[in-house]
């Protein structure tokens, strides 16, 4: 029942928002529904909701983890976006990069899609039927595409197109993967196993291994595209750099996780079928490759939103590496998924503030953020330190745990590459971020409209606080949830 509510609430709200004409009312709807969603999600920690549709829709540890992160992020982003939408004046506006005029998409559409996006992501986290999972992930694509095209100019359009095409192809492959899985499930006569996670795990022994492997690879590539693993990440920097910062925050913080969840599900089946090692190798390969590619593009990256996007590629690689190493590292990966979502979302929100004040995305033209926007500047530096895994912030612990996982298994080469990539990326980001934060601003580039509105600071500050706390203390329930999630990955 609760799950049904969780799923329906955003949809209803979306419909409502679409037909609301008054801005204030619409924004209230947005925040209210987000808050309601969040409260319900919190409630699920107290009472585990009953499954729906005969087990197609249920909430397990993994799903609950990702659902909670998504919901919390969405609430904060919603709050932030209220201020954002107020700042985004209607009608024709000047583009910051090229001298062209453009309009924004109608706010109603934006809000509606935002809420539908939430609904789709919720569905992803709770669906245990593979077909349903696929539907949900495809829906996230379709719901988020209009969000990326919020600023109606050709760059965002190009980004949207690439996003659509690349992700659709990936998702299509994932569909093929689902069919392969079905074939694998219809082994030697008898009644084919229904494609529901628990059934598959129970009767994993009966699965037909070659088809299972093929299915795994297809799903890996398919959902991996959505997740942003190199070399399938190509849509990611474009979309993140052109979308409004609130959307980028959601894409990086929530959407990528959902795709990751899709991959984890099939890995769970592989584990159950005794093919865990096969899957883990693929995970490790993708992980290292993603970190390497991210390093290539982060060093000397002239556009700070793209830099953050590539950092997301890096961290998706980290997650996949952690899962691939298994054991302690799997726990680390789960923890890191949480840490990365919170930190990256915060960074994108702050990037939005900086962009609003300086009207440029070039790291070379932004100077002295700490002077022009003190709060944002502090949060910007904090976020940078957190995302690069400096103590005392959460990512440090998770990255340390993943390293322990690597060395526990004597994968010294992996550990070496891992540390090297982290160091290179740190240098790259440090160069850009410090250059932006410190120094004295160039005179003309500092029109902070009304300084720093509260709604633009509070969400990021909250996120920063959470990340800091997670670096010093991991609450018991969370730890149990993480452990449970890691256990399902063997």
């Amino acid at each position: 029942m609760m799950l049904l509510l969780l799923l329906l609430l955003p949809v209803v709200a979306a419909v409502g928002a679409y037909f609301t004409t008054h801005d204030g009312a619409r924004r209230t709807v947005l925040v209210m529904s987000a808050a309601a969603h969040a409260t319900m999600v919190t409630a699920t920690w107290a009472v585990t909701p009953a499954p729906l549709l005969g087990g197609w829709v249920r909430l397990d540890a993994l799903g609950q983890l990702f659902l909670s992160v998504t919901s919390a992020l969405f609430l904060l982003v919603a709050i932030h976006s209220v201020g954002y939408l107020q700042r985004e004046s209607r009608g024709a506006r000047r583009d910051s990069e090229e001298a062209l005029w453009f309009a924004n998409a109608p706010e109603a559409t934006f809000t509606t899609c935002l809420l539908l996006f939430l609904a789709a992501m919720t569905l992803v986290t709770v669906s245990h039927r593979f077909g349903l999972l696929w539907l949900a992930i495809e829906m996230t694509t379709l719901a988020s595409a209009p969000l990326i095209y919020f600023h109606r100019h050709h760059r965002s359009l190009e980004a949207t197109w690439k996003y659509l095409l690349v992700c659709s192809v990936g998702i299509a492959l994932a569909l093929l993967g689902n069919f392969f899985l079905a074939v694998a499930a219809s082994n030697h006569g008898g009644e084919p196993i229904p494609l529901v996670l628990n059934d598959l795990i129970e009767r994993a022994a009966e699965l037909h291994v070659p088809w299972l492997k093929a299915a795994f690879l297809l799903l890996m590539v398919g959902y991996g595209t959505k997740m942003g693993l190199a070399p399938l990440h190509t849509w990611l920097p474009d979309a993140h750099s052109e979308a409004p910062s609130v959307v980028s925050a959601l894409l990086s913080g929530a959407l990528l996780n959902c795709a990751f969840l899709g991959v984890l599900r099939i890995q769970q089946v592989c584990e159950a079928a005794g093919q865990g090692a096969f899957g883990r190798d693929v995970f490790v390969d993708f992980g290292l490759l993603s970190m390497a590619v991210a390093a290539v593009f982060i060093v000397g990256q002239p556009d700070y939103k793209r830099m953050l996007a590539y950092s997301s590629v890096e961290h998706m690689g980290l997650l996949s590496l952690g899962v691939g190493l298994g054991g302690v590292a799997a726990f680390g990966a789960m923890l890191h998924a949480v840490n990365h979502s919170l930190t990256k979302a915060m960074l994108f929100l702050i990037a939005g503030n900086i962009l609003a004040a300086y009207r440029t995305k070039s790291t070379r033209d932004v100077r002295g953020v700490l002077r022009v926007l003190p709060m944002s500047g502090v949060l910007w530096v904090t976020g940078f330190l957190a995302i690069t895994g400096s103590p005392p912030f959460g990512p440090f612990l998770s990255e340390l745990t993943i390293l322990r996982g690597a060395l526990d298994q004597d994968r010294s080469v992996v550990a070496f590459l891992y540390l090297t990539f982290l160091a290179v990326i740190f240098v790259g980001m440090a160069t850009a971020v410090l250059r932006m934060a410190q120094g004295t601003p160039a005179t003309e580039a500092t029109n902070a409209p009304g300084g720093e509105p509260v709604s633009a600071i509070v969400p990021s500050a909250v996120l920063a606080a959470i990340v800091l706390v997670l670096g010093l203390y991991i609450p018991g329930p969370l730890r149990d949830a993480l452990a449970a999630a890691a256990r399902t990955l063997g």
């Binding site: 197109w161 690439k162 095409l165 690349v166 192809v169 492959l173 070659p210 492997k213 093929a214 690879l217 890996m220 590539v221 595209t225 070399p231 399938l232 190509t234 849509w235 096969f278 693929v282 290539v296 593009f297 060093v299 000397g300 302690v328 726990f331 680390g332 923890l335 700490l370 330190l385 690069t388 400096s390 103590p391 005392p392 440090f396 612990l397 340390l400 745990t401 390293l403 322990r404 060395l407 550990a415 540390l419 982290l422 160091a423 290179v424 740190f426 240098v427 440090a430 160069t431 410090l434 250059r435 410190q438 120094g439 004295t440 670096g471 010093l472 203390y473 991991i474 609450p475 018991g476």
Partner: protein, 658 residues
């Protein structure tokens, strides 16, 4: 233990308080400084109790982070390192309370105080932490806090670049420490120090990791490149703390590592001696080449870290070859030099700071004659200079003497494996001593003596009491440590025991072989002072009823000597620069006078750090170039992106299923 934790909390709290009330600079200053001082005093109290009681008090709480446990312990080693850390920090805080006041028009004073107190607190935690995760967190907080202090003046490009260098260096060093702790904790699955278990096959690897990781912080050559950048950039009281004690946390880490990795092979000692020689000689030579006084001091820190490394190296050799005398004397010298360098270098940075702050320049070629304007600062600088050159009767001499004595013990010990490096140490230490004398006569002479080379000095004035008092106290410290050396060295016994793994009584017996001669040293030092007094009296008596005229400096008959005719610092150092040109790679630009009516001739020399120029910058450039050569991957053609997907899929299918 709780007392110490209370001190830490107090430090952090006062830091926060300083930020919250930064609207009024006076109160911000007062709260920050007094909080720092109070915290340091509390901490010193508990350290003192630990050192006198010599009973390890520890505290172990469960901590809900993977691999982490809040496990802190105060043993003699920690207590020993806490003394310089807290003492110098307190004095620096007092100094800073006046020093920072001159920024209050331009800047918020909250952040510097917050980060300063955070820095002190994290150093305390580093020294007492007994769990890998806790240690690493404290370690990195220390690095970050000091980074933000270094970039306090972030308006200037140099400071920003210095900060960048520092941040990158320390972060890379930490990466090595990550590997170190994880490897050490792998067997037992716990990162608590008392459960780190080391397989003999891995010991050497771990040692190398530790040398790089901790050496980067301590400033071992060739990992020292951040040091001459960062220390001049920071405000002077921060430079004093960074150079005086923050580097020493690296030494502490190394010593702690040695206690964890028992039974070192001899080549560890050789390695440490080698590093010590390179750092020592290289450091002092580069110091000799600098024009920026604080940069010069930073390089001199590299030199002294090298001396400490020599001491530790001899000690490790002693442990490895089973010559207790060697081990005891080496560690005694090294550890005592940790304290001495903290006092002396702290004093030097404070003095240099007040000069720079009074004259507005750090370029020694523009200074001169400051003695007349700033007698106190000049006097303490002279004391510090004598001490840091390891000359009697001050503290610097004692520690270098100990290391020398250890080396001599090694040289007369029958074995050969110990003798060879030890003799290298003797020669190297002698050379370092001579060069250091050159370096600091130059610094003191050119800055404080002669006549002013620019009107920077003529405007100079002695700083206020809050800045003068710490300097005087530190100067007193130089004298006191020098005079009570036998007592102190005797007191080191438990510390050395914990560092070498020998038994305390055994250590004590061997220490006697150092303390008894030390008494002679002290007596002769006292005798020296008496003789000085007598001679001074004699001289006064002789000149009592005679004419003492004041004239011009003898100038070979030249009538009007001007300040610009004085010997410059560069020309003073030139012969040595020339001798060691191969190491220094000094770059020179000369415009020689030519023709019958020559234009203004000029000579510009500059000695950038060789490691930075020849090692790191090329490496970084290479990496950058290599990475950017792969950027075509993201060419923007969407259909090729789809091709990536297809190819990946096919490759995987063929590779994994084929």
């Amino acid at each position: 233990m709780l007392l110490l934790l209370g001190a830490t909390v107090l430090l952090v709290a006062s830091g926060f308080a300083a930020v919250t009330i930064q609207q009024s600079p006076r109160w911000c200053n007062a709260v920050g400084a007094s909080g720092a001082v109070a915290g340091c005093l509390l901490g010193l109290l508990s350290a003192l109790r630990a050192l006198l009681g010599a009973s390890d008090s520890s505290l172990r709480l469960a901590w809900e982070v993977p691999g982490g446990a809040f496990f802190v312990q105060m043993d003699v080693l920690s207590a020993f390192f806490l003394f310089p850390v807290l003492g110098l920090s307190a004095l620096a805080a007092v100094y800073g309370s006046e020093y920072l006041r001159h920024y209050q028009q331009r800047k918020w004073l909250g952040p510097p105080w917050f980060f300063f107190n955070l820095l002190v607190a994290s150093m305390v935690l580093v020294v007492v932490a007994r769990n890998g995760v806790l240690f690493l967190i404290a370690w990195e907080v220390m690095a970050l806090a000091s980074f933000f202090l270094v970039t306090f003046d972030d308006e200037s490009v140099e400071v920003r670049e210095a900060g960048w260098t520092y941040l990158v260096a320390t972060h890379v060093g930490t990466a090595f420490l990550l590997a170190f702790f994880v490897l050490a904790g792998r067997a037992s699955g716990s990162l608590d120090f008392d459960r780190l278990s080391v397989a003999p096959t891995e010991a050497s690897l771990l040692f190398l990791l530790a040398v790089v990781g901790f050496g980067t912080k301590a400033g071992f050559a060739p990992f020292h490149v951040w040091l001459p950048e960062a220390h001049p950039a920071a405000p002077s009281h921060v430079s004093a703390v960074m150079s005086g004690v923050m580097l020493k946390t690296g030494i502490y880490g190394l010593v702690r590592t040695l206690t964890i990795l028992a039974s070192p092979p001899a080549w560890w000692g050789w390695l440490l001696c080698g590093i010590g020689l390179v750092s020592g000689i290289g450091g002092v030579l580069f110091a000799l080449a600098q024009r920026d006084v604080k940069r010069m001091l930073a390089y001199s820190s590299v030199e002294n870290i090298g001396i400490i490394a020599l001491g530790l190296g001899i000690g490790v050799l002693g442990v490895a070859t089973g010559v207790p005398a060697l081990a005891v004397l080496g560690f005694a010298g090294g550890l005592l030099h940790v304290v001495n360098h903290a006092v002396v270098k702290g004093l030097l940075f404070l003095a240099a700071g007040s000069v720079a702050h009074a004259t507005g320049t750090r370029d020694i070629e523009r200074l001169g004659g400051a003695m007349k304007r700033m007698p106190y600062t000049g006097a303490v600088f002279l004391i510090a200079a004598i001490a840091i050159c390891g000359l009697p009767p001050l503290n610097g001499f004692v520690s270098e003497w100990l290391i020398f004595l250890g080396a001599l013990h090694g040289s007369i010990s029958p074995g050969r494996s110990a003798a060879i490096p030890v003799l290298a140490v003797i020669g190297g230490l002698a050379l370092i001593g001579g060069l250091a004398a050159a370096c600091f006569t130059r610094a003191f002479g050119v800055v404080f003596l002669g006549t002013a080379r620019s009107d920077h000095v003529t405007r100079a004035h002695e700083p206020g009491l809050a800045m003068r008092l710490p300097m005087l106290l530190l100067a007193a410290g130089c004298v006191l440590i020098g005079s009570f050396a036998p007592l102190l060295v005797g007191g080191l016994a438990p510390v050395i025991a914990s560092a070498t793994g020998l038994q305390t009584p055994q250590v004590a017996t061997h220490l006697v072989s150092a303390t008894r001669p030390l008494q002679y040293v002290v007596w002769s030092a006292l005798g020296l002072l008496v003789v000085v007094a007598l001679l001074a009296g004699l001289r006064r008596a002789l000149l009592a009823d005679r004419r003492a005229e004041v004239g011009l400096t003898w100038d070979c008959g030249y009538v009007q000597p001007s300040a610009r005719m004085q010997y410059t610092a560069s020309s003073f150092a030139q012969p040595l620069m020339h001798l060691f040109g191969v190491l220094l790679q000094t770059q020179q630009r000369t415009v020689t006078p030519a023709g019958f009516f020559p234009r203004a001739a000029s000579l510009i020399t500059k000695t950038p750090d060789v490691c930075a120029e020849r090692l790191y910058q090329p490496a970084f450039r290479g990496i950058g170039r290599g990475l950017s050569s792969l950027r075509w991957l993201q060419h923007g053609r969407v259909h090729l992106y789809v091709l990536y997907i297809a190819v990946t899929l096919l490759v995987l299918l063929v590779w994994k299923l084929g």
